[in-house]
Amino acid sequence: MLFKDQLDFVTQHIKKNKLRVFMTILAATMGCAFLIVLASVGFGLQESLRNEILSNETVTKIQVYGDKQLTDEQVQEIKKLDHVETVLETISINASAHSFLGDRDTTSNLTLSDIQDFEQVNGKLAEGNYPSKPNEIVVGYHFAQTLLNEAERTIIAEKSKKAEADGTYYDGSEEGYKESMIGKNIDLSLVSNIGANDETEKMSYTIVGVMEKPSYDWMVDNAIHMDKAQKSVLAESLSKVSEIKEEEVFFSEFNIFADTLENVKPLLEKLKDNGYSVYSVTEQLDQMNVFFLVLKIGLIFVGTIAVLIASIGIFNTMTMAVTERTREIGVLKAIGASPKLIQRLFLMESTFIGIFGTLIAVVISYAVSFAANIALPLILKAATGEDAFATNDITFSLIPWQLVIIASAISVGVAMISGYRPARKATKIDVIQALRQEL
C-alpha cells in the first residue's frame, strides 16, 4: 500500500471519530504542554543565573590568583600558548587618586596597565580614545558625575536625607560635571592608604577617553586608568611624602584572556597543568550547569508523568478504534492486507494523535512562556512592592529548541507506545470471527 493511501486511510478514520480523536489530542496536548512549561522554568532560571554571572565578568578572562606574581618570562611564555589573546597586568596602587577640576574634586581608584593590552581587553570606549601620550588617561563612565563642588555635595546630602525618609535611595546622578570630559586637564594627587595620609604634589593629566557604562545599574565606575610607564612618576611623587617602599604601594594582578569562550576551558586546564593558580568564571558555570541539569531532568520526569496520564487516553481511544473496526480489519486481512500493514495503520493513527498534540502543545507552551515572562514580574512587583522583579530581566520560563525536541520525542514516543498494544491486537484479529460480526 502506498504511503499516501495509508495516510488517506488513517485520516478517513480520524474524520469519522472527530470528537473522540479531538479529546484524545487535547489530553496529549495538555500533557506535553505541561511537560514543556514545567521544564522551561528550569531552563529559564538557569539562563537568568548564567546571564547574572556572565554580565559582570568578561567570560574569556582567566584570573591568576595567589601571592606569587608572574615574571616577565612567565607572561611571555603564557602569551605564546595557543588561544591566548593577551595577558593583562593591572597594577593597583595602595593609594586613592584625588582629582581636581576647577572647584570640583573627586576621589577614585587608580590602575596602571600596558595601554595596548588594556585596549585589546576593553575594546570600545563610550567616548574618546585610548591614551597615546604619557600624561593622558582614561576615566570611568561615572567620573564626571562624581566630580562635585561643595554646593552640590550639600544638595546631594539633602536629597539623600529626604530619600531615606521616604525609604528610598538617591544616587546623586542629577549633580556632577555635565560637560564632556574629553580634552579636560585635571590635577591629580595621591593619598596613600598606609602610613601618613599626606597628599602628594598635584600632577597634571589630560582625559582622552571615557569607559563604557558598567553592566549593572548600581555600579559606579569613576576609576582612572593610565599607562604603566607612569608607575615611576607616581612612585617618585609618593616617595616625597612618605617613606613606604615601592613594592608595598604597587601590586599587580594578572588576567589571561582567551580568544573565544570555547577555548577558556582547555586553556584553563593547560595553565593548571603548568602549575599556575588560575580561575575562570566558567568553572562556576560548570558547577551551576550540573545543578541545573539535575533540576531539569527532575522537572522533565515530573512532566513525563502528565504525558503518561494522557497516554492512557490514547490507549483507550485506540483500543476502542480497534474494537469498533474488528469487521473492517477482518475484511482487510481476508482480501490480503498483511498483519504488518494493519499494525502500521493503527500505529500511524496513534502517532498522528501524538504529533498533532505535540505541535499544538509547543505553540501553547511558547505562548504561556511568553505570557509568564511578561506577567510574572508585574504580579511579583504588585505582590511584593519590589521593583527588582520588573527591572532585573529575570527569565522565568525559557523554551530552547532542545527542550522542544526532548518533549516532542517523549510525547510522540509515549503516544506510539500506547498505540502499540491496540495495533498488535488488530493484527491478531481472527478473520473468521471478524467476518461473522453483525453489520
Binding site: 500500500m1 502506498l2 493511501d5 478517513q12 478514520h13 469519522k16 469487521r327 473492517e328 477482518g330 475484511v331 482487510l332 486481512k333 481476508a334 482480501i335 490480503g336 492486507a337 498483511s338 498483519p339 504488518k340 500493514l341 478473520v431 473468521i432 467476518l435 453489520l439
Partner: protein
C-alpha cells in the same frame, strides 16, 4: 489449479481443561481444474466453511496438503499467506463484507491499494470493471445506499479487480432474494465463460450448485463427489 490432499482438522470445544475434540475435516481430497465452477454443498456444521477457511489460509489445517498453481500453501506464515491471497484469490462473502465508510468505487479499489498501485492505474481498472458488471451509475454510493444485489455485485467486482486465478465464494446468494440470486448466478456463469475464471462455491443451497461443472457434498467432515 487446486489440489487438496488428505486435509484434516480438529476443533477443541468446551471449557479449558475439559475440551472435547471434534474432527471437522477427516482427510478431504479434491481437485479443481482451471476454468471450472466447483460447488461444495452441505448442511450447516458439515465442515464446508472450515474447508473454505483452510483453503483461503484464514486458518491452518493440522494435516494435509493444499497446492494452488503447484505451490504448497499450508506452511505459509500469516504474512506470506496474506500476500498469496492478494495475488491468487478473490473473495465473495455471504454478507458482502463491504467497507461501510467507502463508496462502491473505493470498495472495489481497495485490493489495488493493497497491491500498491498508483491512483491513475487504479482509476482506469476500476472504471472498466464497474462498467462491465453494471455498477457505473452507483460508483459514488455508499454500501447502505445500495440494494442487496448491487452490494453483491460490488463485492464480486472487488474480488475480480486484481485478476485472481481463483474466486472463493461463501454462500454468495445467502442474503439475496430469489430474483437477485438468479442475477448473481448468471453473472458468475458469464464471468466464468467469458474470462475463464475458476470458482469454488461453498453453499447449502442446491439451486446455487446447479451452475457448477462439478459438485462435491460435504458430510460430517468428509467430501464426496457427486454427479453434476
Amino acid at each position: 489449479m487446486i489440489q487438496v490432499e488428505n486435509l484434516q482438522h480438529t476443533f477443541l470445544i468446551g471449557k479449558r481443561g475439559k475440551e472435547k475434540q471434534v474432527p471437522v475435516l477427516k482427510g478431504v481430497n479434491f481437485a479443481v481444474n482451471k476454468g471450472e465452477i466447483v460447488a461444495i454443498v452441505g448442511k450447516s456444521g458439515s465442515g464446508k466453511s472450515t474447508l473454505l477457511q483452510v483453503l483461503a489460509g484464514f486458518m491452518k489445517a493440522e494435516q494435509g496438503s493444499i497446492k494452488v498453481n503447484g505451490k504448497e500453501t499450508v506452511h505459509l506464515t500469516e504474512t506470506e499467506s496474506a500476500a498469496f491471497r492478494l495475488r491468487h484469490f478473490g473473495f465473495i462473502f455471504q454478507n458482502f463484507q463491504l467497507m461501510p465508510g467507502l463508496t462502491a468505487f473505493e470498495n472495489i479499489e481497495l485490493p489495488l491499494k493493497l497491491q500498491g498501485l498508483r491512483k491513475a492505474i487504479r482509476n482506469e481498472k476500476v472504471k472498466k470493471l464497474m462498467d462491465k458488471v453494471g455498477l457505473t451509475e452507483v460508483a459514488d454510493h455508499y454500501p447502505n445506499e445500495l440494494s442487496g444485489g448491487q452490494q453483491q455485485r460490488v463485492s464480486i467486482a472487488r474480488a475480480l479487480i486484481t485478476n485472481p486465478p481463483v474466486l472463493l465464494a461463501d454462500e454468495p446468494t445467502g442474503s439475496l432474494d430469489s430474483e437477485t440470486e438468479q442475477d448473481i448466478l448468471l453473472l458468475i456463469q458469464s464471468l466464468n465463460r467469458e474470462l475463464g475464471l475458476t470458482f469454488v462455491i461453498i453453499t447449502h443451497d442446491e439451486e446455487v450448485a446447479t451452475i457448477a461443472h462439478r459438485r462435491f457434498r460435504m458430510y460430517d467432515g468428509e467430501l464426496v463427489k457427486e454427479e453434476a
